[in-house]
Symmetry: C2
């Protein structure tokens, strides 16, 4: 079905998820009752690095309510298939394997690492007992700092490592030497992006329940990837794939850290199976700070060469990336950073060396944006610097370098991690930028800035362009079936984490099947279907959407074939309206319900099928998606800087945005607003701090600042819809869009507000303390010591 | 894969089911543990016909262990979708609906009908309480006799019926009047076939368990049709199809009566759901006698016209068929009888009126053979009579009338119930008969008979030809998948009841996938797959076999495609051996495990699939099977009759048999031997007797005689393999083969042993009392009163 005015695709239909959620009837992990169930709690390492000795567990086992206590030794017996989580992604660049153990046997390598598990009747009893375990820990030298960690003389993050450089790889094309040799201008900078967490409203959690009647193991987890969790459970517990079900219930956010499988999930599943009772663990906020994966920490040393007209000639440098203490998911974050850096601009020569270092900190995994916000930050900061040296307006230098729409689809001299070429699929980047400039009032801003300055206020405006790689393939499985009662059943391995994937899939399916999405029963995160991947990389509307579209199209065809046979009318005389097949433009009243058609389609013993070649109204599709769909956008930000305190108030954010066809514009806006809030946090507030001993200094929401509604500026969004040629619906992902440009645009605006002082911003988040110091330093350099 | 010397198809590989079964590790219904589970027992009607009044249930509820008591009234609240079992088969000939209630509200219509259910902690408590229910029953006139039931002045089996003739229909082709007008000889006979049961070693049973964590309802039942049971549960309990699973565990036989859904299965499922606890009911032998469906009871009044050369000119008459008290499954038994009667012989004109009568007896449903044994009995008895009047050898008159192989596939002037023409697909019937005659020593038998007679013994030899309609479509679902651990998973709605369906499907699948059937995990009777039908009508090797063959072929193709991509070798250079893909005729050692190939086939995020268009090594196939595959056979029987007592000893049975390609010859022999034993029971022993009030007189295995090993004769089998053109494997069904000709062949042999007395046999079973009376009557007619 080609989306048009009559289709549900393209309309802001209300999210089907919301009625239950706003009524408090969501079914999150901790809402699932488990009669007779037990609770798990973990003893976590207080040291960033320590050897692990023994512990006397007998006293612990005797504590009230305690059912079982596990250190690595006790757990090993329950994990016949191995005791480490394989990352599952090929990474030939990795120098040594750092697959994380379920519980480490000999060495703790970050603060918060789970070292022992207690299962007890109540959570409180489990926590008390876990706290009482007197595990013999002997501190070792930790490595906390990303940069020093890369040196040969640094303490080793794991005692046995030869050094901490997990991987060194890079990107390299064009004649980089010639580019810099012939440059009219060169800017060199060093940028630091700090760590943050995802801080979904709901933390992690897992519930595992063995069934005494069937021997099956049912697992619920607040995970973005139920199929991957099932795979790990089957491998490590040596269970048959057919005997384990993993379900992701309602998720209160994911944002990346719930993309990987965690030791706690395996430990709880193993204990439940061994004890023959349900076992549950729900992460508390402190655990989320310590043990849920984090991201962003990178240190860039880069320089960019320009010709006299401000055209980029080359880009080179080094990216140091903090990997944390274990490999949670290959190298995709630093790879994405390096691939994204030059992607939307014409950069004729590129040479980036990436060094990934192991530190004694929480492991790193994608957090919304997955390396792309850092790359955008660096690129856009370099362009602002370039504009200054070239004497160009910041918008103009970008315009001169953006890939133009006449070249779409546009192959880039870059490769995806799979080795396939990167192709920008569609979009008009200069037009997107223009819309952002118009929206924020870029051309008239100097007047406003001067007027405000005359009132003692420092206003600034900034701009950042970006692309977002979305829709990572190869596929997601979606099956569409009309049951005998006429209800449409949509099952998929795609996993919702609050984005409204179910609403989008229902719209897509409903357009083929009578446009009555209420009768569509969706099962997401369902591992009973053939293998799929789940939710990450803004992929689901693209890949699951494509499969849903294809499957529903097939089912529609079968509905009409059967109805045609039963009614004795040609299929093209028929249409589906709500839950009935009707005769187009006829008042004859002839019609059949989907229930009647579905029942007939399944056949009767000894009878031919009614006009169809295969029985039943069902199709399971796994449409292959190659390459990526690149959404693009330009964010303009207006800020006010308090020169005296270094405080930054973001007054307006205007995002010009293009994610191809919007299945549900209101949901797109929701994704963007959430992303902008997250990006605002990255720009100004969210910072996971560690001391020199790699002890986290931010372990609560009192220390670690999340954006609240008070900090949120006015947000305006202008949409374009450059259909992606890569899927039938023309859609692209949007989940990470808002977060990618925000720190870059705000930094640009802050510099603009402080232009006369010559303050340059080179770090995110930009705290008031840091900005205040930068202002004082800039003033001092100018001889102003006020 | 075309079966040949190297394939598993065609070989008597040991049954994979047997290791567990002979070690006592089978998992029958009653072996499934249900912690905290309850037990159900039923109050059953002591009257064949009675009005139902009230009962005081409070005293019953107060009895030890009682958890709940249900009459129709209490159960109604648990059955929002209705309180009757629809038969699900179209029967335009039926005069009035007799869909059976789960528990009847106002009227009991046969002895043993479940009227109330008690659920208690133990089975004993449930039985005691059920027995204590003082339900007010007021007897009505029952109708017991098939023939009188058809009369207008008979008591009505249900008080509201206008008469007891549920249906009148027939078969009619050719000029029947001309056939009889021009006949050289006409024989007219009346035949009576009595009722019997299936008496599977395991009776019926059901266990239903609601899951408090998921809300799902899991049901296990000793049923041949789990999909149908699921459908009824979903309809009557108004449950969503996605929330109910029905599993058929190991079955200790089925033989037809487990083909239909029973009231007990629904009542137990409803109670389990209402009580939130597992509830189990396991039929005892007495219940099986009273309430498990039965078959065979028919009364035929027929005549056959021959020309002078013994060629059949016409066949006409009436079939009265006893339907029992409710419609359990349409009219397929009498339809099959009428369709089968003239099928394998050239009968130029045919006119059969069928009257189906309702009686106050246990409902009738197919029992192994499903109307075909009765038709064969009648046809073969008529041919024996015809041989006498035409002066021909009994074999010769058959030979002259059999459909000949040069006419195969041979359309017949008959229609399937669906209205499609009947086509005999393949077979050499005269050759099959010849092999049976050779095997039993037909030509030299007169000498043996005379020699025995001289020693005071009466030997006889008999012959019966038959065809068996098998492989009823339209399809069965089979999915084949290779899991990431390399195990081959075969899931199907086909249901095993002890025949070895799993072994046959494993052979078929294994031939495509390395021929190592041990690594094949089979799940039969699995309602989680798309809709299917289950086990009846000797269909599963045909329809599930065809789907398994097609699915495994697709999966093999994908295995080789992926391996070709990974090894960089053409697919036709590769083969699958055991669980690895190897290079044909190479010692290079290059190979890949199925686990490696399966894992690669599912893809990795961001990577292309390895050489395949759709991910994963799986295929779900539902091959459509049209028409039927007709197996054929000729049974020769040698008997010794004790003239003084009427006792018959069957000395030898020689079956020439042709069921197309034999997937597993040993299993074919097993099916045949079981069928012959069952047929021997039908011929001589098994008779469900009722008195004039329709009270069963045979309620235990002391009254109802099953064949034991002592009665079993020497059995010899000669196989032919006329491949069926209707499926890729060329297979036909075999499950009912042995039972169809046995009573006919034995009756023929008994007549032969008593030829000089002129005793004719016209009833089955043939009891010693009846035969003794017939011998005395024949002798008296000859003036011999010894």
């Amino acid at each position: 079905m080609t989306p048009d005015d009559t289709t549900l695709v393209g309309r802001s239909v209300p999210r089907r998820e919301d009625r239950a959620l706003v009524a408090g009837q969501g079914r999150y992990l901790d809402d699932i009752a488990s009669p007779g169930g037990l609770h798990a709690a973990f003893l976590r390492s207080p040291y960033a690095h320590a050897t692990i000795g023994g512990a006397d567990l007998d006293d612990i086992r005797a504590m009230p309510g305690v059912v079982a206590v596990y250190t690595a030794k006790e757990l090993a017996a329950l994990l016949p298939g191995g005791q480490r989580l394989a990352t599952g992604l090929p990474s030939s660049s990795i120098a040594f394997a750092l697959d994380r153990p379920i519980l480490p046997e000999a060495e703790a390598v970050y603060v918060g690492e789970a070292l022992a598990m207690v299962v007890a009747v109540t959570r409180a009893e489990a926590e008390d007992a876990a706290e009482a375990i007197d595990l013999d820990l002997d501190p070792l030298d930790p490595v906390a700092d990303l940069e020093s960690a890369a040196r040969d003389d640094a303490p080793k993050a794991h005692a046995h490592l030869p050094h901490n450089r997990l991987a060194s790889f890079g990107f390299d094309y064009g004649d980089i030497g010639a580019a810099f040799d012939g440059a009219a201008h060169v800017v060199s900078r060093r940028f630091r992006i700090d760590r943050g967490g995802a801080h979904s409203m709901e933390g992690r959690g897992v519930l595992a329940a063995p069934d005494a009647m069937t021997g099956r193991l049912s697992v619920w987890s607040s995970t973005q990837t139920p199929h991957a969790l099932k795979r790990h459970i089957c491998t490590l517990l040596a269970r048959d794939e057919g005997d384990v079900d993993v379900t992701a219930p309602d998720l209160g956010g994911g944002f990346g850290p719930k993309l990987v499988t965690y030791p706690e999930e395996i430990a709880v599943a193993a204990a439940a199976q061994a004890l023959g009772r349900p076992v549950r663990w729900v992460e508390d906020r402190r655990e989320h700070f310590l043990a849920a994966c984090q991201e962003r920490e990178q240190l860039w040393t880069v320089e960019m060469a320009f010709d006299a007209g401000g055209r980029i000639l080359g880009l080179r440098g080094t990216l140091l990336h903090d990997h944390g203490a274990w490999t949670a998911r290959g190298l995709n974050v630093p790879y994405a950073s390096g691939m994204m850096l030059p992607l939307m601009y014409d950069v004729p020569a590129y040479d980036l060396n990436i060094v990934v270092t192991v530190t004694n900190k929480t492991p790193v995994t994608p957090v919304r944006g997955a390396g792309q916000p850092q790359a955008t930050y660096v690129m856009e900061r370099l362009l602002d610097a370039g504009a200054r040296v070239c004497g160009l307006d910041r918008a103009e230098i970008r315009r001169r370098n953006l890939v133009t729409p006449d070249r779409m689809p546009c192959p880039r001299p870059l490769k995806l991690r799979s080795g396939e070429p990167v192709v920008l699929d569609s979009g008009d980047y200069p037009e997107t930028q223009r819309k952002a400039l118009d929206g924020i009032g870029w051309d008239g801003f100097e007047t406003r800035r001067a007027e405000a300055r005359s009132r003692g206020k420092r206003l600034g405006v900034g701009l950042a362009n970006y692309v977002e790689g979305t829709g990572r393939g190869p596929y997601e499985t979606v099956s569409v079936r009309i049951a005998r009662d006429g209800r449409v059943k949509v099952n998929t391995g795609a996993a919702a984490m609050g984005q409204g994937v179910g609403t989008a899939l229902a719209q897509i399916v409903a357009d083929h099947l009578g446009r009555a999405p209420a009768t569509i029963d969706l099962t997401l995160g369902d591992t009973r279907e053939p293998y799929g991947f789940g939710g990450f990389n803004s992929r689901q509307t693209v890949v699951a959407g494509a499969s849903a579209d294809a499957a529903a199209r097939i089912v529609r065809g079968k509905v009409l074939q059967v109805a045609s046979h039963l009614l004795g009318l040609p299929g093209d005389a028929l249409d589906i309206e709500a839950d009935r097949v009707v005769v187009r433009g006829s008042n004859s009243g002839q019609s059949l319900s989907l229930a009647e058609i579905a029942t007939a389609s399944e056949g009767l013993p000894g009878y031919r099928l009614p006009g169809i070649e295969t029985p039943g109204l069902q199709a399971t599709e796994r449409v292959l998606v190659e390459g990526m769909a690149f959404a693009n956008g330009a964010l303009a930000a207006e800020v006010e800087v308090d020169e005296a305190t270094g405080a930054v108030r973001v007054a307006r954010l205007f995002l010009a945005h293009d994610c191809g066809r919007m299945v549900n514009p209101q949901m797109v806006d929701g994704q963007i607003m959430g992303g902008l809030a997250h990006g605002l946090g990255n720009a100004l507030y969210e910072k996971m701090s560690f001391d020199d001993e790699a002890q986290p200094l931010t372990g609560s929401l009192a220390d670690y600042l999340l954006v609240s509604s008070a900090e949120m500026p006015v947000i305006e969004i202008a949409h374009s819809e450059s259909l992606s040629p890569q899927n039938a619906l023309g859609v692209k992902g949007v989940g990470e869009s808002g977060v990618i440009p925000t720190a870059a645009a705000i930094a640009s605006a802050v510099e603009h507000a402080l232009e006369d002082l010559g303050v340059e911003i080179a770090e995110a988040p930009l705290t008031p303390q840091a900005l205040h110091a930068a202002i004082r330093a800039a003033k001092a350099a100018k001889g102003d010591t006020t």
